[in-house]
């Protein structure tokens, strides 16, 4: 018997807003009256490194999602999606932002960033459903590229057992009022990407 209603793994690069997303989901779960657990990356790894956050909705036990059991993998960056792809369950959904962020190991010329197509192919073999989203582009349409993570949240909202109203309420709590309109729009456009 599983101990969680929905296991989500959110990955990306330090600075992309991974923590904000897990915070919003957790707050929304509390509003919905569901127990929720999360595990975050803080400290050293945040300096431009790989970041992974776990969020478990309807769970009262440990905060980490087990490998091979994430219902949703939300990747704000494609390479990070594959790096943590082993978390996704065979029945799971992967939502992947298409826009790469090149690590210093690549920009400095040593390592090679593989073609995004290839990354998606490998990930696709691990899960039931893979959705690639140009979230950075969509965020631009919403008025601010910074809202890329909220575009992805909008997409995620279709795959998790939380009412949209709770997510929006939670989002509003953590977004500065002057950015609210753009973020609201970003959320809607993200949702439309997967409908």
């Amino acid at each position: 018997m599983r101990a969680s209603e929905c296991d989500i793994v959110i990955v990306g690069v330090g600075g992309q807003g991974v923590i904000l997303l897990s915070d919003v989901i957790g707050r929304a779960a509390v509003k919905a009256g569901k127990p929720v657990r999360g595990a975050e990356t803080h400290g050293m790894a945040q300096r431009g490194g790989s970041v992974i956050n776990h969020t478990r909705i309807g769970c009262s036990l440990g905060p980490m999602v087990a490998p091979g059991s994430a219902d949703v993998l939300l990747a704000l960056e494609p390479a990070e999606g594959l790096r943590f792809g082993h978390f996704i369950a065979p029945w799971g959904t992967a939502l992947v932002n298409l826009r790469p962020v090149l690590p210093a190991t690549v920009t400095a010329g040593g390592a090679v960033y593989p073609p995004v197509e290839e990354i998606l192919n490998h990930l696709g073999r691990r899960c039931r459903d893979l959705r690639a989203i140009d979230a950075s582009g969509v965020a631009g349409q919403a008025g601010t590229v910074q809202a890329m993570n909220v575009v992805m949240l909008g997409a995620l909202s279709r795959f998790i057992p939380l009412q949209e109203s709770f997510l929006m309420e939670a989002l509003k709590e953590v977004i500065a009022p002057r950015h609210w309109e753009a973020n609201q729009k970003a959320f809607g456009l993200g949702k439309a990407e997967v409908e």
């Binding site: 018997m1 897990s22 707050r27 127990p35 999360g38 431009g48 440990g62 593989p114």
Partner: protein, 595 residues
């Protein structure tokens, strides 16, 4: 009570405020730093003293003084900080407290952001003090409040030991109202209990030993020790490991007996009851076999006919546990099939993404200039801070503990190293643990250079202020410790201050320090680039012009804002405008864009 989605460290801060704390002191360190920050944010009008101390030892002493004066007190640090504070901690166990004193030492199994993964429960055992091992943020909050009461009941400090997966976990947490700091204040003289002379220490040690049994009994019936007698196989688990065990038992649908332990000394009576009931028991805990040793000893004393499984064969001694590891250990005990973690082989094609110095970080310029002056064969003892991430630049040859660069550098010199030695450490690290090393180097006449990389903050742990910044934890202005004067007063024969954004000046400064026949100090001063961005310091813009010959020197400098495209360098949107790359380019191809 209304539930909120709280970080473990914030839940601990709530616990402190609900427990009527009067003073909180600490030194930043992942995963503990947010506790003090949250106390500052949440304390409102409560008249409560919160401070970032210079280091963990001082923080512990400040908390002890407050406790002896009748204020409930807490001290926060990461696990390795407890090494620094171990001296007052060990003897405090003899002397005891006044008002309740909770020592919070956050462990970091797997070294997510640490130089080792030592187990703080060992310290509690070492000092004969009670330790609370929370499984999640809610327990961490409750144990914090309980810690004050326990401390006062037994006249002992109490160690709270959250791990990364508790401190940096989030959960729906129910918290209550903050209580004003209580108690009559005023230091009461009592030499027999406050002055650790041998004549006082001997009876105090006896008293400490005598308390152990009653502490164990008082802890046994707390809600964090839970016994469930079912089948003839059982599990005993400590702290967060108990959650992984619960999930594994649910998942595998097994009828196992279970004892979850949250307090130390562990509840031996409950352990005995479980041992009487089962034929086989698996002990599950992170890091050291602290609980397992007690279980084995109890089994031996009780002559229990039981097989004890655990560390080495079933549960690793290192790293952090997770559901899969625990599930598989239980499956093996039960003769069920093990479920392997299935890595994606193709992930090998991915470029590594280690954490790196930020675009525009001044440490990069400092290390570049240092290496230009001292050469690649010099010895570069370094320290704990963001700059440790620059290990690829060739100027980080050692990293041991806070401030060690200077002591280690002196030892390298006296040990027989003849070549140039240039140590480096940050401003906060210097004030924390480097000053004594510098005094020692001067006193013993070590010929070398010490570089203080002064970015005017404690950057790595999230930009906490320190005595060099002139701001307290509560955001109040205070005296500023001038690093130049300190270095001179501690005996440096020569002190140079350079700007790492001005390479020529910095290289010349390092050369003068290198040629000085004695102990020299270079202070490389430039504000942390993250803080500059936040305070909206106007940034300059740079681009790569037609003169680029593709020599890659700027790329090798390692700034994430410089990419290589085709045959030429390119500056991307991450650029912070420090301008150092423009000074490195031999073709003068990197030029400022003048608006």
């Amino acid at each position: 009570m209304v539930a909120e989605y709280l970080l473990g460290n914030v839940a601990i801060a709530k616990g402190l405020l609900e427990g009527g704390v009067g003073l909180v002191a600490g030194y930043p360190g992942t995963p503990s730093s947010e506790i003090i920050e949250a106390v500052v944010d949440l304390k409102g009008d409560h008249p409560l003293h919160v401070e970032w101390s210079v280091n963990e030892k001082v923080a512990m002493e400040v908390a002890i003084g407050a406790s002896w004066t009748g204020a409930r007190a807490a001290v926060t640090m990461k696990h390795v900080g407890l090494n620094v504070a171990a001296d007052p901690f060990m003897t405090l166990a003899y002397l005891g407290v006044g008002a309740g004193l909770v020592v919070i030492s956050a462990d970091d199994p797997f070294c997510h952001s640490s130089q080792n993964e030592q187990d703080s429960r060992r310290y509690a055992l070492f000092a004969s003090l009670p330790c609370l091992d929370p499984a999640d943020p809610q327990e961490a909050r409750e144990m914090t409040i309980f810690g004050f009461e326990l401390s006062e009941s037994f006249d002992l400090p109490v160690l709270l030991r959250p791990t990364t997966r508790v401190s940096h976990a989030r959960a729906d947490v129910e918290a209550g109202l903050h209580q004003p700091a209580v108690g009559d204040r005023g230091f009461v003289k009592n030499h027999a209990r406050r002055v650790a002379l041998p004549v006082h220490a001997r009876p105090l040690h006896t008293k400490l030993i005598e308390k152990q049994r009653s502490v164990e009994e008082a802890l046994e019936n707390t809600p964090w020790n839970r016994l469930r007698l079912r089948g003839e196989h059982g599990v005993i688990a400590s702290g967060i490991a108990g959650l992984y065990v619960e999930e594994a038992i649910q998942y595998l649908d097994l009828d196992l007996s279970l004892l979850r332990v949250g307090t130390y000394p562990p509840p031996r009576r409950l352990i005995g009851r479980l041992l009487d009931h089962v034929e086989k028991v698996l002990v599950v805990e992170e890091l050291d076999p602290v609980l397992q040793e007690v279980v084995e000893r109890t089994a031996f004393r009780n002559r229990a006919q039981v097989e004890v499984l655990g560390k080495e064969d079933f549960i690793p001694l290192e790293g952090e546990l997770d559901f899969l590891t625990v599930r598989n250990a239980i499956a093996r005990m039960e003769g069920l099939s093990v479920k392997p973690a299935l890595p994606i082989e193709a992930a090998r094609i991915l470029p590594p993404r280690p954490p790196v110095l930020c675009p525009g970080c001044s440490h990069r310029g400092t290390y570049y200039a240092m290496k230009k002056a001292f050469g690649k064969h010099a010895i570069y003892p370094s320290d704990i801070g963001c700059y440790t991430m620059a290990v690829n630049m060739g100027t980080v040859d050692s990293c041991l503990c806070m401030g060690a660069s200077i002591g280690v550098g002196s030892g390298i010199r006296f040990g027989g190293e003849a070549g140039p030695i240039c140590c480096s450490l940050g401003d906060s690290t210097f004030l924390h643990g480097g000053m004594t090393g510098l005094l020692n180097a001067a006193y013993n006449n070590a010929h070398m250079t010490v570089t203080i990389m002064d970015n005017s903050t404690t950057a790595m742990t999230g930009h906490q202020p320190h005595p060099g910044t002139g701001i307290t934890a509560a955001g109040v202005e205070t005296v500023t410790a001038p690093l130049e004067d300190l270095a001179r007063a501690l005996g440096a024969g020569m002190v140079e201050t350079v700007d790492p954004y001005n390479l020529e000046e910095a290289i010349e400064g390092f050369k003068r320090a290198r040629d000085f026949p004695g102990l020299s100090v270079v202070i490389a001063r430039q504000s942390c680039v993250i803080l500059s961005r936040k305070s909206k310091v106007k940034r300059r813009e740079f681009r790569v012009g037609e003169d680029c010959v593709g020599c890659r020197l700027c790329v090798e400098f390692g700034c994430p804002a410089i990419e290589f495209e085709g045959e030429r360098a390119r500056i991307n949107a991450l650029c912070a405008g420090c301008g150092v790359c423009a000074q490195i380019c031999p073709s003068s191809a990197i030029v400022e864009v003048r608006g």
